[in-house]
């Protein structure tokens, strides 16, 4: 079976910093891949390379049979790949409903009625149907992140990328976001998640990847990786799990 995301020997430099050092990774349809690693290990950079928010310097990325090396393909790929950010990045001048509807209308060329119908249904799905007319600043962090997930889903993506979706949230709001992500995983969405939520990784993750210094250190099922005998993995997990 052909992978839906194919990453081959990707290198990325930020000036003198060699952020990604030859990453190769295949993600298959319906898989949930969780990436962990210390800060600065390149996990967010890798995620951002998948929808070309970050340009890579070397190597090859193919998303849904579309190679990312041609700039013409980038907007096509981005329509198929939803992204959820650590800081939500909701459009602060638009109401929740318009946050969900805008890109559908101008990118997917849906009518206003169509787009708002889809938006309304998605707000029900993420559990905040009553906030359609609110502005982002009027929502809690957890609600904002759920809106951000709904906004990405409104484009009917084939793949969802999550860049530390819960690290900016208060502890009591983390669960509401993880529940939405768990439900999404159960529906068979292909997901690449940068997160240190081990509970989520165990419950939904098919594969877990530990990155360090721009390289993949270990790759295994969550249960195996969390009990790994690999020295670097053990060292990192002891820090994360004992927090």
């Amino acid at each position: 079976m052909e992978p839906i995301i194919h990453i081959e020997n990707v290198h990325k430099h930020f000036g003198r910093v060699h952020a990604l050092r030859g990453i190769s990774l295949d993600v298959y349809k319906g898989e949930v891949v969780v990436i962990i690693g210390p800060s600065g290990s390149g996990k967010s950079t890798l995620l951002r390379c998948i929808n070309h928010l970050e340009e890579y310097n070397e190597g090859r990325i193919v998303v849904d049979s579309t190679p990312l090396d041609d700039t013409k393909n980038i907007n096509v790929v981005r329509q198929e790949v939803g992204m959820v950010f650590q800081s939500f990045n909701l459009f602060s001048h638009l109401r929740v409903i318009d946050n969900l509807a805008l890109a559908q209308r101008i990118v997917r060329r849906r009518t206003r009625e169509e787009a708002e119908k889809i938006a309304t249904d998605l707000l029900v799905k993420v559990g905040i149907p009553d906030k359609a007319q609110a502005y982002p600043v009027q929502l809690s962090g957890g609600q904002q992140q759920r809106v951000a997930i709904a906004r990405a889903l409104a484009m009917n993506p084939k793949i969802m990328l999550f860049d530390e979706p819960t690290s900016a949230l208060d502890p009591e709001m983390i669960k509401e976001v993880l529940d939405v992500m768990l439900a999404l995983a159960k529906e068979g969405m292909t997901m690449v998640v940068v997160s240190h939520e081990m509970g989520f990784a165990r419950a939904a993750g098919d594969r877990m990847i530990l990155m360090d210094e721009g390289q993949i250190v270990e790759e295994a099922t969550p249960d195996k990786l969390l009990t790994s005998s690999h020295e670097r993995t053990k060292q990192f997990l002891s820090k994360v799990l004992n927090l």
Partner: protein, 275 residues
Amino acid sequence: MAEKPKTRPGGGKLFYIPGGDTFTRIDPWWGLVALVVVAAVVLVTVWPDPFWNILVFVRGGIIVTVSITVISFIFIMVLGLLGGLGRLSRNRVLRGFASLYVELVRGVPLLVQLIWWYFAFPVMIQAVGKWLDFSFMIEYQANPIATAIIGLTVCYGAYMSEICRAGIQSIPKGQMEAARSLGMSHFQAMRYIILPQSIRVILPPVGNEFIALLKDSSLVSVVAVADLTRRGREFMATHFNPIEVWTMVALIYLVMTLLSARGVSWLEKKNRFEE
């Protein structure tokens, strides 16, 4: 967090005492406008000679001042947006061109620029016309009003470029990334996400620019435009009463600037989304 009162505390007024009565809600700025208007009305009705006569004499100048300011301002907004986008462009030629424009123009006094456009520019056009043998260029004469609008637009466009650049840059990077990650093009993201948010940021400085422009438009009186200031000078030249003339002219400018300031703050309030 979720439930916020519909009305903002104080409604944007300068003073607000929670639970205060109507007295505390009198806006001191409107009070100032009223004071200036009353002063002008008193002068005109109590001493119609010379104040009423001055007002009648300069009224054409008021219209010229307002028209030049408003027309220039429209061009300035367009030029400022282009200049601001140019300063932020990834294209090095565009960026260099925009930066050169801003730096050159900001380094030369407005008065000198106006004089240059009025006296030097036409001669230059004529010289080029002679060289190319284009008769319409050889016969080119500076039109005072057009020159004034060009001069003000070029000068203020540079300052406006910097305001627009700062406004666009003040929008967090994540907004552009979120827009692009949804498949929007760079243009769509600018048009629907970045610029609408920038407007709120740049509105106060843009309002200041409008008021500064209204005042600086008095400089066009040196290039033969019969604006408010020039009409005032003409009246003084025949009647020799500087105190009355320039007090009246100053009051008229004050009424216009104070009203503009109110207009700007009304626009700001209108453009604020709920926070």
